[in-house]
Assembly symmetry: C2
Homo-oligomer: 307 residues x 2
């Protein structure tokens, strides 16, 4: 009987696209564990002392991903089970937005940067406003069936940049396998994020991720699925609503309402309100059937304010 | 100093449209409480012993709403604060779907009815599968500014049929006031519902609702907002994903994945899987910024299965 092994993969070598021609850095057996060291999504660009002026100067090549890892025996049609065992974020985080991208691209026309210190259990936006950390990887995925280079931004049937905040330590991700060996890679560490990630960044940081891999042939999947414990405790929340015949427009309306609330009632700048909405406010689809208007609600956990 | 009073409003008289010409059944002062008795959304049509064949025979006039209540002094531009103090559901619930409506209108082409006994803390779908009750009103709203009769189905800036499952006892709803006296009405009792209400019905039931009203002039709202404690405890969840360039299509994909999961892994019929998705599965917008593909995740709480 083989004893499962633990491997380590540092962040010296990364790849910036999904391409099933990239050879695996290591090959492992099902049941093995890999400790991945992952760069942050800016590829190490952001450092202490930088300001909003530095956002416009950054050129992105895509998410720097650590991998691929080949899993022996994994074949197209199988499911790769990824058990998320431990996630350790770095000690510096950033959240940024820039014109032309994000949910409220028309509302925010100047680039903006927020740096966070991550040494405790929460990150401080300002005195008295602390966002509890709940680390996860924004990107976990396998190689696509289609040949060639595919940008990392959109999530696809291979998982990838799904930004599902509930993929915290203790969760399990199930990914359909599209090529022999599965070719798993990961990155895009997030120390905290709201459902929606509305300004397009979470609290972005480096991550040391300990993941265990299994190959499942008893289930079939066309799309990723997951099992998780909800990361945040129940508690008092304040919510705004978006009511519109289009879910995207409803999401925009709910987030605009939340920004208005945070500015008027909590004294935040518009920019910090957008940042806080991205890293801590959860978008839920309240109803999607009461034609012609759907409801998206944006939930702000009030423990951020120590209440 | 006036002592706040408690009023009662029975369900003998209801209205089926929003129309600001409907005179208030009672007028109250700010600070007063009203105990509303509300019919179920079928207007009492469903009874024990009925079957799926009865779904097609039902003709709906709209939600039967108890009210309106006029709040003295409330004027357009004010905000009506509604404190949800107590919600007592009836002892019979129903969930139904029919062709042509609901999120998966193309997937389910036959009408279907599920009746629930609601005497405990949870409603049983089948032995070993129990949905915890978390009662709320699907409809709470005020009269619209626009004259004439408006159907109750779509939620609007007056609130109405928002189906926000977090409006449980202990929550507070803030509604913009559009006409003198606000003219508040409510109905559409739900014993439990998932975010999304995907098959178009929750666990529908009669409701006795105790609501306290205040008039707020220190806040301005264009859309409803609310404050709540999340009703469900944290716990283990299983989630499916929808990944698509349209949020509605992503929601459909996530719910189809959940139905497939419930059928294959939990042995439910497709119809019961759709029902369970509507009454217990939560749709969350995981990300809405990683162009061109958005992610909607559907979360199934596993405590339903006693695990």
């Amino acid at each position: 009987m083989r004893v499962p092994r633990t491997h380590e993969l540092d962040a010296t070598t990364v790849h910036y696209v999904w391409d099933n021609a990239i050879p695996p850095r290591i090959e492992i057996d099902p049941g093995d564990t890999v400790v991945f060291r992952c760069r942050d999504s800016s590829d190490g660009y952001y450092r202490r002392g930088m300001t909003s002026a530095d956002v416009a100067r950054r050129v992105s090549k895509g998410h720097p991903l650590t991998g691929p890892v080949g899993i022996r025996g994994a074949r197209p049609g199988d499911v790769l089970q990824v058990d998320v065992r431990e996630l350790v974020p770095g000690d510096l985080g950033y959240t940024s937005f820039r014109p032309g991208i994000g949910l409220l691209r028309d509302d925010f026309t100047e680039p903006y940067l927020k740096l966070w210190e991550l040494r405790g259990q929460a990150a401080e936006l300002r005195p008295g406003m602390r966002v509890p950390l709940a680390p996860f990887l924004g990107v976990m995925g396998v190689a696509l069936a289609e040949p060639g280079a595919h940008v990392t931004a959109p999530p696809r049937s291979n998982g990838g940049n799904m930004d599902i905040k509930q993929l915290t330590a203790g969760s399990t991700l199930y990914l359909p396998v599209w090529v022999d060996g599965a070719l798993f890679s990961c990155g895009d560490g997030h120390a905290a994020q709201g459902d929606g990630e509305v300004c397009i960044t979470a609290i972005e940081t480096t991550m040391t991720a300990t993941l265990r891999f299994r190959v499942r042939r008893d289930i079939r999947l066309a799309w990723p699925e997951l099992e998780t414990s909800l990361a945040r405790p129940r508690g008092r929340h304040y919510a705004t609503t978006g009511i519109a015949p289009d879910l995207m427009e409803a999401a925009r309306q709910a987030v605009r309402g939340m920004i208005g609330h945070l500015v008027e009632r909590r004294g935040l700048s518009r920019e910090d309100a957008y940042i806080l909405s991205s890293v801590a406010v959860d978008l839920r689809i309240s109803e999607v059937v009461d034609a012609p208007n759907w409801v998206v609600s944006a939930f702000l956990p009030l423990d951020i304010f120590g209440t």
